[in-house]
Amino acid sequence: MNFTFGADAFSWIFFGLVTVMWVLVGIFTGKYGEANHLDHMPRFWLFYSLTYVSLAALCFAKSFLSMYLCFEFMTLLSMPLVAHEERPEAIAAAKKYLFYSIFGASLALIGLFFAGRYTDGVFAAGGTLDMSLASGNEKLLLVVVFLTVVGFGAKAGLYPLHSWLPTAHPEAPGPASAVLSGVITKAGVLCIIRVIYFVFGADFIRGTWVQYTLMAMAMLTIFMGSLMAYNQRHFKRRLAYSTVSQVSYILLGVFALNPLALTGSMLHIVYHAIIKNTLFLVAASVIFSTKHLHYVEDLEGLGRRMPWTFGCFTIASLGLVGVPPFAGFLSKWYLATGILSEKIPVISWMAPAVLLASALMTAAYLLSISIKAFFPRKDLVLDTNEFGKPVTESPLQMVLPMVILTAFVVVLGIAAQPWYNFFSVIASGVF
């Protein structure tokens, strides 16, 4: 078994994404933690940076073993972020996060053992499966691939192991849920990309039950996530279910084993990270200003008092729905056309339909918040927070990261062509 690190295009993309997000959320947290009297901020910063280090190491892992170890480190080091507020619910949520992640990782461990026997374990585009050893054991190996992907899928919120997200996010402090949802779920995606494209190879699972089952699971997750998000009243839980749904867009594209769809996935990794970070920072900003608002119906009329926060929210929401010219449209386009061109019976046309049904629900659960915030129907608009002070816009140090992220949503949406060219070269290189 090799324990190696090295950089390829995927490493740099993920590393860049992680770094930008970590810095921006860090700036936000500086103010958020200080004024919200979050105790033990040094502890938060310690684990915040350690998680960053483990994520960066994960990005540059070049063999299954090193990736697995970094993955476990990341899980353990990010757990205190969830439990940070030390309320019993927060601790229970952290335990749940740990349980799901470790269980997922233990499934992935199976993959590690088998990869050690049948591949050389070092990542290489197209996979390193030794066909002379594998022939005759294909069925077993397929089960192994399936379990490994499902295991890493726990981090990415793939269906059976998704339910830590809606529990952990509402309990974690705002900035922690932002990075958890926007970036750490993508670590699961990265691991799955590595397993499929760099260890076992796309050709090995193309057209097998593994591919179809995984695609079906991703579609179920997309639909269920959106539907559940629509039915949540809790603001952050709604966003958490939205993450469940959106990360499965990415996985669906990864499972399609098609260069176009993979390009769409990679675009969506970037877009979703930006957008979801914005949305969670907005949630944090609302809590910062009002001290106590957690439910969607409480947000009535807040847009007038916090125009920047909710302006960012609206643009990010439009991006997530996939309304051009904002980011999010193009990724959906390539995902759908890529999957359609694969000509898989039923799944091929059902996947775009599920994507669009989910986009509709996304519009319903996000834009309704925007509309409520900007055009309150009741006269009961919240004027003061818990301490009797008027609700105002959050300080500049919090608004700035949101505005920068929102600017990304607009700029990356309008000037998408260079990104597409860049990603499509990388995506076609792994087949």
Partner: protein, 612 residues
């Protein structure tokens, strides 16, 4: 230019040039009219910003040369125009805005699905040469007619939702009355045409001479025109009537698109009629909605009973309104007469054609359509007459109010009146010089609609043409004086005065949106079975954790299984098993039992392996 990874394509010639000009003309008129109309509104800055944003987006749609460009600008247009609809921000507009946004978003997403399918089938989304590509793909077996139909229907759904085709017309009668009048003029006059634009592109490029598609479009058109007119006759609100009228006229245009597809090389009349009716309708609705805006600006009412008699002693308003009303009713001599006659003649032509090639059933169907067409023409006259008589002839039930109305002679600024006179003048000129202006414009637009040149000069003022219009006018007059006047206008004796009251006879419950769409969407968005699917992993984990580490997560007692377990009969049956389990759980025998279970599973696996 490359936006959102899409290479934008624009074309400013032919049909698209004319329609971009129409859009600009309408926006300039509406914006100038807004100066007076919006004087007392709040958030004027927002209104103007989104008005201009919608303008650019609409021009983008109308000038686009591939579907992705169309889609991008179409979505921008939908969202920016939402801000115009809800401008007043009171509960009424908010609810109408919700309907508008829902229809726009659903329409947009279904259209996107259609674009996915079309791109998958043909590999291109450019209008240029789309027909040839589709033909080639069909002949080479690369795609099937079924797939093209699926794509076409999805795309038509999206554009039809914006155009207001039945059954997606629900947003029009809701959104138009509550939006500021200049915005309603644009919504009705040009935003619906952006939908029609897409419907034309998809129909003439992919389904030219396709009988199924043509009959479908014609049927949608007939149903839309009739239902719209019916709603219009019953409506007792000035702007709502105009909105229903828009639905109805969109039906005429949709029928025209169907006829273009059906008639193939003989579609000279149909293509001309379709285009001219679009043009007429844009101008007429600009004029009429602005006129309604003048009324609302002064009275802040739109209900017919409130505004009754307002137009008396206001000759300019009367002339302007009459020009619009006559033209939309297709009275001979107006521009509306030309386009409706052309559409009517195209139906007659198709009936002859169908009989000629032995499609008796189709000919019979279109005989029915022709009758509905003429009756709808009559209904158009009927509801316009209702508005006209209400505004300009009838007297208000309240004599004091009527006196106040009569006194008011300064009811709009010079600039506003210029904004109303401009489209009215255009309509008049078009009507008078039909052979030169209208023929010329139809000729310019012909290629976009896949129209063929007419074999001989079309004569508009021959008896066969006038006959249709006369039938419509007669039907309209009869309908108004025998039905509307008797049933929908209640006469009341008020002292020695007989005053009339407009009755809203349309059953309140008969509302497609409240009756079908809202409950349906509510049902579709309820979690249903997915709630359990979502909770399944959690419950499984809880179960195993209870078996493995009993103390983990004590809060699991909350979960609703318990109450089911203690209270229902099914639960009690399980309870006896569970109690046995509980008594055994802490003992060693239970551990052995689990081990035995594992062993059993292992043995069964061995057995299966051995057998297989």
């Amino acid at each position: 230019m490359n936006i959102c990874g899409v290479t934008l394509g624009f074309n400013f010639s032919g049909f698209q040039l004319i329609y971009v000009c129409v859009a600009c003309f309408m926006w300039i008129c509406s914006l100038l009219f807004s100066l007076e109309y919006m004087k007392h509104y709040e958030n004027k800055k927002r209104y103007y910003i989104f008005m201009i944003a919608t303008w650019f987006a609409t021009v983008g749609v109308l000038a686009s040369t591939n579907f992705l460009t169309t889609f991008i600008f179409f979505e921008i247009m939908s969202f920016t125009s939402y801000l115009l609809v809800i401008h007043e921000e009171t509960p009424g507009p908010m609810r109408a805005g919700e309907t508008y946004l829902a229809v726009a978003v659903i329409g947009g997403m279904v259209m996107l699905m259609g674009l996915f399918l079309l791109y998958d089938a043909l590999g291109t989304l450019s209008f240029d040469g789309l027909d040839a590509v589709a033909k080639f793909a069909l002949e080479s077996g690369q795609t099937t007619e079924g797939r093209l139909f699926a794509a076409g229907l999805c795309i038509l759904f999206g554009f039809g939702a914006k155009a207001g085709m039945v059954p997606l017309h629900i947003w029009l009668p809701k959104a138009h009355p509550i939006a500021p009048a200049p915005a309603s003029a644009l919504l009705s006059g040009i935003l619906t045409k952006a939908g029609i634009f897409g419907a034309i592109v998809i129909s003439v490029n992919l389904f030219f001479e396709n009988v199924t598609w043509g009959v479908m479009m014609a049927t949608i058109g007939i149903v839309t025109m009739f239902l719209g007119a019916l709603l219009g006759v019953f409506s007792v609100n000035l702007k709502r009537t105009l909105a229903c009228s828009s639905v109805s006229q969109i039906g005429f245009i949709t029928l025209g698109i169907g006829m273009i597809c059906l008639l193939g090389p003989e579609n000279a009349l149909a293509s001309r009629g379709t285009f001219l009716h679009m043009l007429n309708h844009s101008m007429i609705k600009l004029l009429l909605f602005s006129a309604a805006g003048v009324v609302y600006m002064n009275l802040h009412h739109l209900e017919l009973n409130d505004i009754r008699g307002y137009g008396r002693k206001k000759p300019l308003l009367l002339v302007l309104f009459a020009i619009g009303a006559a033209s939309i009713s297709g009275v001979p001599g107006t521009s509306g007469y030309i386009s409706k006659t052309l559409l009517h003649e195209s139906i007659v032509e198709f009936i002859e054609h169908a009989e000629h090639i032995g499609l008796e059933k189709l000919a019979g169907l279109f005989h029915v359509y022709e009758i509905v067409f003429l009756i709808t023409g009559g209904m158009t006259l009927c509801y316009m007459l209702k508005l006209f008589i209400c505004l300009f002839i009838g007297k208000n039930a309240n004599p004091a109010l009527q006196a106040k109305y009569d006194e008011k002679t300064k009811y709009m600024s010079v600039l506003s009146s210029a904004c109303l006179i401009a489209p009215a003048a255009l309509l008049t000129v078009m009507g008078i010089t039909a052979y030169r202006t209208m023929n010329l414009m139809a000729e310019i637009a012909r290629f976009f609609l896949h129209g063929y040149a007419a074999e001989h000069e079309v004569h508009y003022f021959v008896w066969t043409c006038i006959k249709g219009s006369c039938i419509s006018v007669t039907v309209g007059l009869v309908l108004y004086f025998l039905v509307v006047d008797k049933l929908l206008i209640k006469k009341k004796k008020n002292g020695d005065l007989v005053c009339a009251e407009y009755v809203d006879a349309w059953p309140k419950k008969l509302d497609l949106e409240e009756l079908v769409y809202r409950p349906l969407i509510k049902l579709l968005l309820s979690p249903g079975i997915f709630k359990y699917i979502d909770a399944l992993p959690d419950k499984t984990a809880e179960f195993f954790s209870q078996v493995a580490f009993k103390q983990w997560n004590k809060e699991s007692k909350r979960f609703s299984f318990k109450s089911w377990y203690h209270e229902s009969s099914g639960g009690k049956a399980l309870k006896s098993f569970h109690e046995a389990y509980l008594s055994a759980r802490d003992s060693m025998s239970f551990g052995l039992l689990l081990a035995a279970g594992g062993l059993a599973i292992f043995l069964i696996y061995m057995l299966i392996n051995w057998v297989a």
